[in-house]
């Protein structure tokens, strides 16, 4: 059974407001395979050479790859650079 969308998602859809603009949401911009800008990052959960985990909204974003760095912070954005191989969402275990 598909997961029911939350109120804000439904509200935004009704009013044609981008989901990213609503509170508690996040956005990702992937530039090639080398740079990922994560907007609405709440916390850095883990920081490693091959995996960086970020809390976005109520979930965790796992960025996997090689030589990963968080190269910039500011205005709720985190820029991850390196050789990005995969992005995945999962449970925030922390």
């Amino acid at each position: 059974m598909p997961k029911r969308k939350d109120f804000l998602t439904r509200f935004g859809a009704k009013l044609d407001i981008p989901r990213e603009s609503l509170p508690g949401s996040f956005g990702l911009t992937l530039s090639g395979q080398e740079e990922l800008v994560v907007r609405g990052c709440k916390k850095i959960l883990s920081y490693g050479k091959t995996c960086i985990a970020l809390r976005v909204g109520k979930t965790a974003l796992y960025v996997r790859g090689e030589s990963l760095f968080c190269s910039a912070f500011g205005a709720g954005c985190v820029t991850v650079t390196g050789n990005i191989e995969s992005l995945s969402f999962g449970e925030d275990t922390q």
């Binding site: 920081y47 490693g48 912070f73």
Partner: protein, 395 residues
Amino acid sequence: MNPYFFLLGYTVVRVGASSATDFFELCRVLEITPKKLKRVAKTEDFTCCFTSFSAAKVLAFSASRGLDVSPLKRGGIPSLWRRFIHRPGLVIGTVLALMLLCLGRLFVWEVALEGCQAVGEEEILAELGELGLKRGAFLPHLDGDDIALSLRQSDVRIGYATVNLVGTVAFVQIEEALPVPDTAPTAPANLVAKKDGVVLLPMIFEGERRVEIGERVRAGQLLASGIIDGKDGGFRVTRASGQVWARTEETITVSIPFVYEEKHYTGKIYSEVEVDFFGFSGKVFKTTGNVNANCDIKVKKYNFFAGARVLPVGFSSSLYHVYEYKSTKRTAAEALALAREVLAARLVDEGEGRKLLATKVETVLDGTGVTLCCTATFEEDIGLISEFFMEAGGK
């Protein structure tokens, strides 16, 4: 180095691998982006760079949270300032340099001299120095026209002089005076003998001859008179002149002792440095100028240049080669050979302008050394013009 970091000051920070997550979370919260982020291959630690202000903030928060974060290196202008503020010499030097930059245009940096041919440049520069125009002179107190006029008046060899003050350089142009042709002296004079001798050839151009060939004359004796008797009982006064060639004798004595003092270098060399600043020189070290031993001094001057222009700032280094005198002995043969050598040189010097006819050498050897007594016979002109003064009325 990023100029922005250099201006604001920077701190390189090491972050332990175990604290990486919390450290970057802290950076995210503080919205401070670490620059030049690098991972240390062996330890998995990180190094990154912050401005001094951001680093202070990050380090303070890291310390309060117990993170393994430590500063590695600090740099930039604030860091340099903190280092130099503890060295008053550097601060004073910087202030003096700034003062020199501001006040330097009020002083003469160089005196450029043109047109010197027969007159020595050093001489003119010394004269200008006495008139107040020298390196380091205060420009507002200088009047170029006044100095040029004083220079013309003080030195008759200078026909024309101008002083143009352009910036901090004084351009001095010299036009040397034309030489005045010599006028022949007209005062009445006698021709007298300047030394004893036997007259060989009297050639009297003017005056009345008073010596004969083969006559022995004494120094001061009249050779040709400037007063000529007239046939009518009166006399005529003239300036006697001529050449009176005579055979003269001279004794030259050369003594060479067996024991003498010879210069020996000890091998000790002292060096000193003096700073030259607008003609003023000063010691650089406390020991400068304190060498009291006998020494040969070699001085080298180094000037700073701005393009082709010599700046009035420089330094001179002096090397003192210390020596001492040691008593040394020579053999009689060595002393005799040296005495002959010295005598030959003396004869060459003495024979200048006259002809050496014969020599008679007597050698005296005693316990102290060798003495050569040489009687040299020369052929020379012994005539000497001796002026005399005639009062009106013939006295």
